[in-house]
């Protein structure tokens, strides 16, 4: 048992922190909130040039063959910086499923594009009626000769309006798990993308597919064989987002401590009051629990071990404690914490966005309940 980063990971963390402190100040985060793309292609290119985007892919596809724990280090720093970028969408939801389930031809074609940051990938999964099981997939793909024709509406597609390719999950048979994943060129005729207006200023889109024709060569992992690919992708996505939250919480903790030490009322720093000290202790406990759980989940994913339980524990924990964590942070910041001129709101909204993406607390507790054997 070893809970420390390797020396290389420490170096990666420090360089990521230095880079993001310079390139991603809150003025940039704020600017991106108003930007239609919600990210900066220039910064994205710099990240790609640093090797971040290709980090988790094998060298033969233009990556640097590092593992998911290395990725976790970066994700934590991105969460800490509130970095707006299609990193998770393109690498975790787009690229890694292709690495898992793609044919050699698909991998050779798409992975170098993803790893180099030249193409942005994302996943079109969730539909307006929600649901995180295969049965919730109603969008249809009908076989027509060697091709398929996709119809349906997908919601909450991350970076849908800037993606070059989408992994589209559509129903190909009536069996509960009869869904197929297609690699779809986002510029295909019949695709209409609309950016949603959200609380966290995330890039989340509605993507409507109207008679979108896709070649049978673009099926990822076999017809009707899509659900296991998606489950694995979601588990990894959850682990990634939990690491981002760990970074998010870390910033909020440090900021809150700095605030209560600086802010004086009744002639003394408010951080000298025991009630606030105990609030801080509670926040610190939530933070440390989050870090440990996120790292454990990332480790299990990285080692290729069964990780359903570890990931569900981390996500359920975050969803359980996050609201209290932020309530305490805001309470201690006083009215400044709800002012847009203070930075706390960036974190409050983004943590919530992560919590509610791909499954609320109840969903993950149910995963744990099943795994406990509660029948």
């Amino acid at each position: 048992m070893n809970l420390s980063l390797t020396e290389e990971q420490e170096i990666l963390r420090q360089s990521a922190r230095d880079f993001l402190e310079e390139k991603c100040p809150k003025s940039f985060v704020k600017e991106m909130e108003q930007d239609e793309k919600k990210y900066s292609p220039e910064l994205w290119k710099e990240m790609a040039d640093l090797g971040w985007v290709g980090l988790a892919f094998p060298e033969k596809y233009g990556g640097s063959d590092m593992n998911f724990l290395d990725l976790a280090v970066l994700l934590e720093e991105m969460g800490r910086a509130c970095l707006p970028s299609p990193f998770v969408a393109s690498v975790v939801l787009g690229g890694l499923p292709i690495l898992d389930a793609g044919s050699e031809e698909q991998k050779a074609k798409y992975l170098p594009e993803i790893a180099s940051g030249k193409a942005i990938f994302s996943m079109a999964l969730i539909e307006p009626e929600l649901g995180y099981e295969a049965t919730a997939i109603k969008a249809e793909a009908k076989a027509e000769g060697d091709s398929f024709v996709i119809n349906g509406t997908k919601l909450f597609v991350p970076y849908g309006n800037v993606a070059d390719y989408l992994l589209v999950v559509a129903r190909t048979s009536k069996n509960a798990e009869g869904v197929t994943v297609f690699i779809v060129d986002a510029k295909s005729p019949g695709i209409k993308v609309t950016l949603l207006s959200t609380m966290a200023h995330e890039n989340l889109c509605e993507v409507v597919f109207e008679n979108v024709k896709v070649s049978g060569n673009n099926v990822l992992g076999g017809v009707d064989q899509g659900w296991p690919v998606i489950q694995k992708a979601l588990e990894r996505n959850d682990a990634a987002r939990c690491c981002e939250v760990a970074g998010n919480f870390g910033w909020v903790m440090e900021d809150t401590i700095a605030y209560v030490l600086d802010r004086k009322q009744f002639g003394r720093p408010i951080g000298s009051f025991q009630v606030l000290q105990h609030y801080c202790a509670d926040m610190s406990t939530y933070l440390e629990g989050t870090r440990l759980a996120a790292h454990q989940a990332a480790w299990a994913v990285s080692e290729g071990l069964p990780s359903t339980r570890e990931v569900a524990v981390a996500k359920a924990w975050i969803n359980q404690v996050s609201a209290t964590f932020f309530n305490l942070a805001h309470q201690m910041h006083g009215a400044m914490g709800v002012a847009l001129e203070h930075d706390l709101h960036f974190y409050t909204t983004r943590a919530k966005a992560v919590e509610l993406g791909y499954g609320e607390g109840n969903y993950y507790r149910e995963v744990v309940a099943k795994d406990m054997g509660l029948a």
Partner: protein, 389 residues
């Protein structure tokens, strides 16, 4: 980063499980909640000693196994999972031995450690006094120097170890003239010295696991002082981290948690099993998530100790968190059981062995002993986060 056990550790864990499984099968004892602090069984302690499992982390030259703190957590985790009656040796193994190793003389190490390792030295903890609880440094038990001895006068309360203790660890005032925390020393003394008397305290569960211990002109030879004179309070702050660090803070009522999960799977309400109720599933899964986070906290403490650091903040955090968790488990068990939860284990109607009533009441003491949660949060805030004292 690696959250797994080594092959040797896995083997060790299995060996401990096999041993405990066999003990339960042979009917040598019944699993119970809080057994680590309330169930005294010298014979069990001797069998554990024979396996070499007391003083696991201590150097081989004193009869220990020279193993790591992670191994010790593996051992204690299994002891707690089975609700094994380990109270006779628990305290000596957890912190008395460590204190002797850290601060004791060579002579004291050679005298005390083998006795603990053989499962013969049962040491109660004499820290609290009626007027010195969280404010431990204000303790009044006086140890007045007199030639080669100290003369003890005073009273300790909530001294653990029940009627089985044959040694007592005492924090006493050796210099009343200085600032309060600078005049305290540590002693480990045999209970049979003349002038020591003991009155059992009965707690809210009806258990006699604690004592009032009285010192009436007790002549204590100097050789029983551990470490430097008047440095006791500094020593005890480090030892308390050990006291708080363990898996017992999370798993004291694990037998109840485990039995509750089985109970909801086997018990029907109308046509359905309780485990099919969404409310119950959600709540139990939440407790399971909280348990697993607590377990990570506990292993983190062991990893910090393994690195040779005092886990002051980590142990404070894990204990405050885990004792609150135990209270939630006990309360949820009571909610599930309804009025059956009120029944003691001797009632023929008692469900899941009457563990719930005991734990519901017993768990109220654990967020107090070894550092009240409020004190622990002060430690997290002031020593961990740098807020002003």
């Amino acid at each position: 980063m690696d959250f797994s056990f080594t092959e040797e550790q896995k083997k060790f864990k299995q060996e401990v499980r096999d041993f405990l499984e066999d003990e339960v099968k042979r009917g040598l004892w019944k699993p119970s909640c809080d057994a680590w602090i309330q169930s005294y069984d010298p014979e069990f302690t001797k069998r554990v000693a024979a396996k070499g499992w007391i003083g696991l982390t201590w150097p081989r030259e004193y009869g220990g196994q020279g193993l790591g703190f992670v191994e010790r957590v593996i051992l204690t985790e299994e002891m707690l999972r089975y609700g094994a009656p380990a109270a006779c040796h628990w305290f000596s193994d957890r912190q008395i031995g460590g204190a002797v190793l850290e601060y004791g003389s060579e002579e004291q190490k050679k005298d005390l450690l083998p006795k603990i390792i053989k499962g013969e030295l049962y040491c109660g903890l004499g820290m609290s006094e009626t007027e010195a609880g969280s404010d431990l440094a204000s303790l009044k038990t006086r140890a007045a120097e007199d030639g080669d001895d100290y003369i003890f006068n005073g009273q300790k309360t909530w001294t653990s170890g029940g009627s089985f203790i044959n040694y007592v660890y005492v924090l006493a005032r050796t210099d009343p003239e200085v600032v309060k925390h600078k005049g305290i020393s540590e002693f480990i003394i045999p209970l049979d010295l003349s002038g020591i008397s003991r009155i059992p305290m009965v707690d809210i569960t009806g258990t006699e696991a604690w004592n009032d211990v009285f010192f009436d002109n007790v002549r204590v030879p100097k050789k029983y002082m551990i470490g430097e004179k008047n440095k006791g309070f500094y020593h005890v702050m480090a030892e308390l981290a050990f006291e708080r660090s363990g898996m017992e803070r999370l798993m004291g009522n694990y037998p109840l948690f485990d039995a509750l999960i089985k109970f909801v799977m086997e018990t029907r309400d109308g046509g359905k099993f309780l485990a099919q109720s969404d409310v119950i599933r959600q709540k139990l899964a939440q407790l399971q998530v909280e348990f697993e986070i607590g377990r990570l906290f506990m292993y983190r403490v062991a990893v910090v100790m393994e690195a040779g650091k005092a886990p002051t903040v980590e142990a404070a955090m894990s204990k405050a968190y885990a004792t609150a968790f135990e209270q939630r488990v006990a309360n949820f068990a009571m909610e599930i059981l309804g009025p059956y939860g009120l029944l003691w284990m001797d009632s023929k109607y008692a469900k899941i062995g009457g563990l719930a009533a005991h734990s519901y009441l017993g768990s109220k003491g654990y967020s107090l002993q070894a550092g009240a949660s409020e004190i622990l949060k002060n430690i997290i805030a002031q020593r961990g986060l740098g807020l002003p004292a």
